[in-house]
Amino acid sequence: MVADAYDAVIVGAGADGPVVAWKLAEAGLSVLVLEAGPFHGNKQWPKPHEDPGAESSSSLDDLSGELLDEQFTTREFEMVNNLLFGPADHRRGFWMRKFPGDGAILQCAGVGGTTLHYTGCHPRAYPAAIDEQGHWPIDYADLIPYYQELEAICEVAPAPVTAKEEVFFRGAAAAGWNLIDEANVTDPGYRPQPNAIRQPDEVLHVDAGYDGDYSAADLTGHTLAVSDISGDPHPRGAPFEEKAKRSSNVSFVPLALGTGNVTIRPNAFVVDVATDGGPTPEATGVTFRDTWSGAVASVDAEVVVLAAGAIETPRLWLNAGLPENEWVGRGLTIHFGDNVMGLWDEDELEGLLGRRTVEQQEGEDIAARFDYPGLGMLQTVGTTPGIGAILGFGASASGFAFQNDTTGEPWDTTGRLVGQELKRLLAGYRRMVQVLVVSDDRPHRRNGVTVQRGVADEHGPIPLVNYRPSEADRKRRDELARIAADILRAAGATHVHRSDSPPTALHLHSTMRMGKVVDDACEAYDVDRLFVADHSVLANGLGGPNPTLTGQAVAARAAEHIQERYFAP
């Protein structure tokens, strides 16, 4: 049951909300977490996309690995439709956001948020992005204790090498780059991904002759089937908390529920933040709408924490009519990205790997990376074919490949691939390695989230997102794409394709920046008792590294400040 009042109400159970919930509850506060999407793997919702189920969950005993196994089929099309940002009811479509051009926003709804389809990548920010780029009011050193604590909880460790990573590492070494073994990265080089994924069992070594069913009865850790983007509940048969990929529903939600002080209320879309109306208003609670029934309810809180992510947090602020601030919703960074793909001949692979295929469906999805503070990063990605086709060849800012001349470029083709070319290239699915370009784009005020009266859904005006990279943002990305092509060539790729992707948002941050909208404790400058603890407070794009760990570190830090400011004994 959801009560009328709590010490803290948290809006959003994504990567960051559960961290705040756990920290506050551990200190003895009563906490309600409201989540717009469903709760998978929970006995209160045995069919989360078909029946409304129960109202809320407050017990560790509700979590069920068996249900998660059933619901997370790892079939890509089904999982994309179940996880992407929309209501739980499978008969309904995605919630609309308006995004410019051919790009898209890829976020999930549900307990665990976008960590449901993240690939477990948990690197730290680049120290120089925090200390030298002039965006952050706090130092990199302030984050380190939180990094260390959360890395231990999420079991962050160097990712294992399978064939696709070996190809990339050999290419990076041949192209003259050095190995990095450091947690705090200041120079360019390649290294394994620091992944929040339990390492695979040694029985899965290529020389060990494993012939089992990959279930928990047999082994622990990642089972080396590419499925992280599709939810990855492996090993099957493992209890909920023992799944290999440490998404926030697997890592922090059990910790939060284990305190006995946390209630999670899924299928609850927050549509308003209540304030007391003083000269500097104070937050007093929120109003939410049940996504199944449409019923609306309100709840009071001593402190309200917004953790709905870099699109919905500013949308909620704007729709709730909270005080205007020229940086609310502004400064969006998305790691303006690209995709570069290499294809190999069988003979070439035989010499490189000792076998005639790469088999990109094997391994962790993303397990090798290249860092370049000042530019951003590269990471290999193995995908199932549908996601690979849309990510690698589905969209382009430079039109269709047949319209583009690549003379003098380090790639053979660029643009959207279709027809015979698409089918020929994808016939080589098992001989290709894809590299994601993730660039260090900077916050610009023109980029971000606005709302417009009249363009509304059942939760009010929808987010209108604007994003246009600067000239320097573009140069950083293009330079990384060239480095990616060089690495693939150095590894012997016979065909290199560059997407030249339009702006597409997989990593979203900086729309409620620390130092602009919130203070360095993450409390809003213009509303007391209102905190923001999600990726929107990140003052820039961290230099390019995957943002989950830093978002969680800032959220953990905010939780300590909330206790100090409002709940000190």
Binding site: A163, A174, N178, Y210, Y214, G386, L426
Partner: protein
């Protein structure tokens, strides 16, 4: 007025004229939508007899052979919702017709600009109905300007649809406008996602998730036969080891293979996992590669 605006206005004007002249009945409109989606699928994932000699007969069939266009219409009609209060909590926005309209506008714009490589022709319509024995005459008649372009010109039209703002009437006094970029995402991006995914392997994808029947037979999905994707798996014995050196912390144990012999120390793949080093860091000498003003 700039030329491109003039051309766009003329395109819209002509489109509206044609639309009023033709006076589609609902059934005809649905056929027109279907034909337009077939035309996109035929351009994006066509039949490719040319690949038979090079790659094998399994690489010949395309999207039309597995009903991709019809499913794409359904998906586009049900995949996005704005929960219009006046339509109840499950109100969805049927995008397929406005998408088909936008493609026709883009086709007319392309032709008016003279950017098509071949003249529009009914001969380009015929392959879209070859596989369909039912109602081929009415289907043929329902082909709009987009479907009459050559496959490559259809792609050129998709390429210019981005700058069209499309209006969808939600009710008499409300309009929702969306950016033409969404059209490309739907008819190119989502078409590829669906085609290359497991979608064809369901007996009943329109059923609720818990009652769907899926055959995980790699041979049952046409695109899997074309990509060689071996089907949904619970795991692979694919571990090679952990990157590291013999003196560093990253990996441990015996050398399985060497990645960089020339490096000092050499970089190996080792049998045992290690950890990242908690290093001291210095950022004072950081230099921007491509500087820009801080905001």
């Amino acid at each position: 007025m700039p030329r491109h605006l003039l051309v766009e206005r003329l395109g819209r004007y002509l489109y509206e004229k044609i639309r009023h002249l033709v006076h589609y009945k609902r059934g005809d409109r649905d056929l027109h939508t279907k034909m337009t989606f077939r035309a996109t699928v035929d351009a994006v994932i066509p039949r490719t007899p040319e690949l038979e000699a090079e790659l094998g007969p399994e690489h010949v069939p395309g999207g039309l052979d597995i009903g991709l266009a019809e499913y794409l219409v359904t998906y586009v009609n049900h995949g996005f919702q704005l929960g219009f209060p006046q339509l109840g909590p499950r109100g969805t926005l049927s995008f397929a017709r406005p998408v088909a309209k936008a493609l026709d506008v883009a086709a007319l714009k392309l032709v008016l600009r003279g950017h098509n490589a071949e003249p529009p022709s009914r001969t380009f319509v015929r392959p879209l109905i070859e596989a369909d024995a039912t109602a081929s005459t009415s289907l043929f008649a329902a082909a709009g300007p987009f479907a009459r372009l050559s496959p490559e010109d259809r792609l050129r039209a998709i390429g210019i649809v981005d700058d069209i703002e499309i209006s969808v009437a939600r009710s008499e006094d409300e309009l929702f406008e969306f950016n033409g970029g969404l059209v490309g995402q739907l008819v190119v991006g989502f078409a590829k996602l669906i085609y290359y995914s497991e979608w064809q392997g369901y007996e009943n994808y329109d059923e609720p998730p818990s009652t769907r029947i899926f055959s995980d037979d790699p041979g049952a999905v046409q695109s899997w036969r074309q990509t060689g994707f071996p089907g949904i798996a619970n795991g692979y014995p694919a571990l090679r080891g952990y990157l590291g050196t013999e003196t560093g912390s990253l990996g441990d144990g015996e050398v399985w293979t060497t990645v960089d012999v020339a490096a000092e120390p050499p970089v190996h793949i080792l049998h045992e996992p290690g950890r990242f080093r908690e290093n001291d860091y210095e950022t004072a000498d950081f230099e921007e590669v491509f500087p820009e003003e801080t905001t």
